[in-house]
Symmetry: C2
């Protein structure tokens, strides 16, 4: 007799109920269906009106053939195979590797030992020094303390660590933007904390208004929520806005007045497409530049960065860091303890953090090729962002704010009552219904707006603009055709 599922010790009724509440749309139902189609196409099965699945649901540039930075990979491969650095091989190896890649690998290995060894749980000290120096240079000379920097396996794991720390009990609340990146809502659901939503204003380019923040925290506290922290994603995900220095200053003052820890998700800090009018300013710099000493010393800030985004795009390595400013030293000890339970972040991610924060400099052998590669990727991303934005804005009933930063567009789509009814019949949100239809018609996989949160009765989807440039026109026209067919079908 086979044991029926309901009789299992661990089943859907006995599992940790918080886990059941977790939703993560970026890799949800639609992404699973996309994988099925991809597998069908590989096997030559199924009938589809397209020959490939295009994954625009996730910022995964190298999956869509973005070329990795040559210097980074050269150094990483030398660290992986230190036999190449042996004297007897150097003549051959010098024909394959530039001199600065060899020197950098030697320097890294001197401080790391072996990439196969656990490092310090907080990350290799030498690499944390590199990060501190990077932050100092980025922020106009404000010092950064390497002992307050933690290397992580991607920004996500750092965010999870901090949210876990902040969850004192079931009344603990964390302010998150709507729309938001669902890592936040998923993690809060897992820890049983209260998401305290604040809305970004689509009509003014997804701007962030202090009045809206104040209203949100006040109302949550009135309802008994112990609001502890504010999450800001800048540049925005999924919304792409890039905040001004003035806005950052207001936000910091708000955190001081409301006694909120500031969690700054700054993983898109180099994905800036309007650098003259909207340059990236870090919250660390804005804090250090704040006119009030009480604010500068009072606001607890944790800033997250990653090797997965920007022009680096090394998602698969899982690397990142967070910097803590004004955190209680006992809290830092607890963060260290929790890092030590997971032993250490993987060394390949750590190495890439070092390289991202300290790339080839003027005069070094790889400088020119490095700069060209970065520039090529950057300009292409900017071109594609503008092109896709135009496509969306020309589509009937669609409006799309421009991406000042990040890797995404988040257009609003007007959907008819017929769509709403058809979606309800299938138990889907209207935007999920629309996105499923897009996948089945074009092979393009996006994420429905309901996965990020949106103003009631508005519908959106998030799409990356990462498909390769030589396929981009075809990609755009596929979406245009789908949209117009979809409208006709649902008049």
């Amino acid at each position: 007799m086979t044991i029926a599922a309901k009789e299992r010790v661990l089943n859907i009724n006995t599992i940790n109920p918080l886990i059941k509440n977790v939703e993560y749309a970026v890799r949800g139902k639609l992404a699973i269906r996309a994988e099925e189609i991809r597998s069908d196409l590989e096997k030559g099965q199924g009938k589809y009106g397209f020959d490939r699945v295009v994954s625009c649901n996730i910022g995964n540039p190298q999956q869509l053939n973005q070329t990795p930075i040559t210097f980074f990979r050269q150094v990483a491969s030398l660290c992986d195979n230190p036999d190449l650095l042996k004297k007897e091989n150097l003549a051959l190896v010098s024909q394959l590797y530039p001199s600065d890649a060899i020197t950098r690998a030697q320097t890294l290995l001197k401080s790391i030992g072996s990439v196969g060894a656990y490092s310090h749980s907080q990350g290799v000290p030498h690499i944390r020094d590199t990060v501190a120096q990077f932050i100092k240079e980025r922020d106009g000379g404000h010092a950064s303390d390497a002992s307050h920097i933690f290397l992580t396996q991607g920004a996500s794991s750092g965010v999870q660590t901090l949210l876990s720390m902040l969850t004192e009990n079931e009344h603990s609340g964390i302010m998150i933007p709507i729309p938001q990146y669902p890592l936040y809502s998923a993690t809060l659901a897992l820890y049983g904390a209260v998401p305290v939503n604040y809305y970004l204003d689509e009509t003014t380019g997804w701007s962030l208004d202090i009045a809206q923040l104040t209203e949100s925290v006040t109302s949550a506290r009135k309802q008994g929520t112990d609001v502890k922290a504010l999450v800001i994603i800048n540049p925005g995900n999924p919304t792409g806005q890039c905040l001004t220095a003035e806005n950052l200053k207001e936000i910091i003052t708000f955190c001081y007045e409301q006694r909120l820890v500031l969690l700054a998700d700054e993983v898109y800090q180099t994905n800036i497409y309007e650098p003259e009018t909207r340059p990236f300013v870090s919250f660390k710099k804005a804090l250090m530049d704040h006119p009030s000493a009480e604010v500068r010393e009072g606001v607890e800030l944790v800033s997250f960065h990653s090797i997965s985004k920007g022009m680096v795009g090394e998602c698969g390595r899982r690397g990142g860091y967070f910097e803590c400013v004004n955190l209680d030293s006992q809290v830092l000890d607890q963060i260290y303890k929790m890092s030590s339970v997971s032993l250490c972040p993987n060394l390949h991610g750590q190495i890439l953090v070092d390289l991202m924060c300290n790339p080839p400099r003027v005069g070094e052998a790889s400088y020119e090729s490095y700069s060209n590669e970065i520039k090529t990727i950057y300009e292409s991303l900017r071109r594609r962002s503008k092109k896709l934005e135009d496509v969306f804005n020309k589509m009937e009933g669609v409006s799309c704010q421009s991406a000042q930063g990040s890797m995404y567009l988040f257009p609003q789509v007007t959907l008819s009552q017929k769509v709403v009814d058809a979606a309800a019949k299938e138990g889907l949100a209207p935007d999920a219904y629309y996105s499923h239809a897009m996948l089945e018609a074009t092979g393009v996989c996006v994420v429905p707006g309901s996965g990020f949160g949106q103003k009631e009765n508005t519908w959106h989807f998030r799409s990356t603009f990462l498909p390769e440039e030589h396929l981009f026109d075809q990609f755009c026209s596929g979406i245009e055709k789908f949209h117009s067919d979809f409208l006709q079908k649902h008049v």
Copy 2:
């Protein structure tokens, strides 16, 4: 005015209280002190009677200069730098790399794409197929389902995922051995689940007795604990015992009768030092060989493995997997969902899982060097294990069970009342006091038995036997001298 620590929003009184309860001795106070000394020695500061710190607190072989497996590193470095696989470079590259390393890298990259791209959240399908094939071969032909295998960032993260799933509420209990690897107690503390202790019997080589398991589960249930799962570490950590097939069968029957999910930590499965009398048998094989079909289909088993241990020792890459057997399909969906929130395990860890599970075969270019490297490391580990065991057993008041497996010895030390009193004065457990004294006298860092749990009023410490063989005699005599001095000082 500087804001005092007690005024911080996030401080030791407002932090998640479960985090405060977490203890992780492997990287606790003693390890932090060892880091201080190491840093002093590097800077030429401080006065110590030794010139290096020897980290025996953690199974981190490559930190102590264990050589990585050449073939593994060759393939990994080619995957990292795919330019080396370009036609124009192959002539040069063939002088540096054997043909099978090149072929393997090509195969892996074909299925992975780029190591810089997020993979399937469960791990690259091709690599999961490799794992399934490995399990099948290891377990005498019993099939393994790749769709029930999850690649992870080291075994630890897999264990944490499962313990999180199993924690339905604060009454949920998980059976763990005493002594245990503190990942388990730390994780249960973090999730607020109840550790249900069962004792291993030191007098019979840390054997595992069903009567003891039964007593433990019965008593916990009487006290209202909802005992859900049994953790077995085999080979044992810190205890080194290797269970017989007969014992495994009894344990499985026990889980069936008591309705317990079986979590099998089998990361030391190739660290087997008495293979004739105590070969490693996996729980998966024991389950599939169980005479009762109801048991075979009824017992829910999750087995964990890692690239960090064995002769591979690639700790710093953070790679591993777990295989689920008889798990409810809805539970598998939830595991997948939680994996997707962390996006994917790092690709360098995944690649090493592939290589560990499918090493060079007879007739392939790297087979001979691979086998020799594995054999050399294995025999050296076995020699060192026996040598250190002998040293411990010759020390006054010390008795040490032999390591049938794993990387550790866990000797019992008789400590005088004078030690107990001196330790109490410093607020330390007697074994922590002893271990601190050892570190200060010799530079050898071990872990006090109280970090793993031990029978009341017995004192132990855990030491790896990983110091390099040419330094091993010196390492041993340092400990002997310390111990004899310590006894004299505390008569």
